[in-house]
Symmetry: C2
Subunit: 218 residues, 2 copies
DNA sequence: ATAATGAGAACGAACGTTCGCACTCTTGGT
DNA sequence: ACCAAGAGTGCGAACGTTCGTTCTCATTAT
C-alpha cells in the first residue's frame, strides 16, 4: 500500500485538487476494501457461514473500524448483491448489442458464463440465489436484475417479431422466463470449470435459441 | 395421532405379527418425523439459518429426544441430501423409460419441474446446491446424483447415436453436462410458480432438445 | 480543540450439543 | 401373576462456544 507517501502529501493547504486522496475518497476506498474482503469470505464460506471476524481479518481491519463503514452484516450483503446486479445489467447491455437477435442472445449467455468463470464469481451467484429465498432485500436485488434482463430482451425480441424477422415457437411471455432460467442454469454450473469446450457449448445454445426463435431466412 | 390406541394394543404376548408397531418401526417413524420437520425448517430458513431448536419445535420434540436419533445437525443435512438423491434417481429411471430418446429427455425435465413444484421442494434444491459448495458430504451426494443422471442418459444417448437414430450437434461429452445444467436451471427457477404454462415450456424444451439431437426422420 | 478513524476487549444473545433425571416399555426370575 | 432390573426414550435446563455488535480508549487529521 502507498498510504504512507500519500498521507505525507496531505499537509498541503489546497482543499481540492492537490491532495491525492480527499476524505470522501478515502472512505470510499475503505468501503470498497471491505466489500472485496467480504466477497472473498462469502464465496469461501457462504453468507451465513462467514463471520464478521473472518471478514475483518480478510480486510485487515478491526471490528470497530469495519462498523464505521457498514452498520451491519446484512448491509454488506445487500451492498454486494446490489453491486453484482448493476454489474450484470451493464454486462448485458453490452452483450445484447449485436444486431442479429439470435447472436445477441447467444452472446449474452456466453459472456455471462465466461465472466462468471474468470472472476470466480459463479459460487457467489449460487449463494445470492439461495439467500434471496429468505432475505427480502437480496430478493429485490435479484428480481430487479431479472426484470431488467427480461425487459431488455423483451424489447429486442418483440421488435424482431413485429418486423417479421422471427416466429417464436411460444408466446414471448413464456419464451423469456424460460430462456433466462436456462441461462441461469448454465451460469450456475460453471461449465468451463468442468473442462467443457465453450465453443461446443455455444453451438448448443445457438442451436436451441435458433430453433425456438425460428428466424425467417427466406 | 393414533399413538394412544396403538400403545394400548402393545400388551399382547405375541412378538412379531400382532403388535402394530415394533420398536424398530417406532424408531424409524420418529427419525422420519425429524427429517420431515428438518426439511420444512431448511426450506424456510436455509441449512445454516435453521437452528436445532427450530427443528425440535417443528418436530414437537425436545433437543434431548432429537439427539437420540441423529448425532448432529450435519448428519440430518446429509440424511436429507441422500434421501433427495435416491428419490431423484428413482424419478429419473421412471421418466426416462419412454422409448423415444427425445421424448424421454423432455419427459425427465418436465417431471422434475412438476414434482419439485408440487412438493414445494424447489427452494430445498437451491439450498442443497449452495451447501454443496462447502459441505463435502453434500457435495458428494450431489455429484453422485449427477453422475447417475449422466450415466443413465449417456447410455440412452450413445445407444441412439450408435443406431444412427440421432446425429447430435456436439459430442456426447459436451451434450450431457449442458443438458443437465439447462434442466437444473429450469427446475430451480420453479417456473410454474411464476404462472407459466407448462405445455408451452414443454414445447420449448422439446424444440431445443430435438434441434440439438437431430433425430434422423427419413 | 474537535471530529474522524482505528484497535481490540467485551457484551448479550443464540448456537449446537450434553447432562441428569423421570418415565415407559421389555424381560426374566419367582 | 407379579415385581425388580435394565434398557429405551423424552424432557428441558444448562453447557461452552461463537456470533454480530458495541464500547472504550488511543491515535490521527483538520
Amino acid at each position: 500500500m502507498k498510504t504512507d507517501s500519500e498521507t505525507l502529501q496531505g499537509d498541503l493547504d489546497d482543499d481540492e485538487a492537490a491532495s491525492p486522496l480527499t476524505r470522501a475518497e478515502k472512505r470510499e476506498a475503505q468501503a470498497l476494501r471491505i466489500l472485496d474482503a467480504a466477497k472473498t469470505c462469502f464465496v469461501r464460506s457462504g453468507f451465513q457461514g462467514a463471520s464478521m471476524h473472518e471478514i475483518c481479518r480478510e480486510a485487515g481491519m478491526s471490528p470497530g473500524a469495519l462498523y464505521r463503514y457498514f452498520p451491519s452484516k446484512e448491509s454488506i450483503i445487500e451492498a454486494i448483491a446490489a453491486k453484482e446486479r448493476s454489474h450484470d445489467a451493464e454486462l448485458l447491455t453490452e452483450s445484447l448489442a449485436h444486431p442479429d437477435i439470435v447472436e445477441a442472445l447467444v452472446n449474452s449467455v456466453m459472456t455471462q458464463i465466461r465472466v462468471r468463470h474468470e472472476t470466480r464469481m459463479a459460487p457467489l451467484f449460487t449463494e445470492i440465489r439461495a439467500e434471496a429465498l429468505r432475505n427480502p432485500a437480496v430478493l429485490e436485488s435479484c428480481e430487479c436484475s431479472m426484470r431488467q434482463f427480461r425487459e431488455m430482451i423483451f424489447r429486442r425480441v418483440s421488435t424482431a417479431v413485429a418486423e417479421g424477422k422471427i416466429r417464436p415457437t411460444v408466446p414471448v411471455e413464456t419464451l423469456l422466463p424460460v430462456m433466462v432460467a436456462i441461462g441461469e442454469g448454465l451460469v450456475l454450473n460453471d461449465l468451463p470449470s468442468k473442462g467443457l469446450d465453450l465453443a461446443q457449448v455455444e453451438t448448443m445454445i445457438r442451436t436451441a435459441v435458433t430453433a425456438n426463435l425460428r428466424p425467417v431466412t427466406s
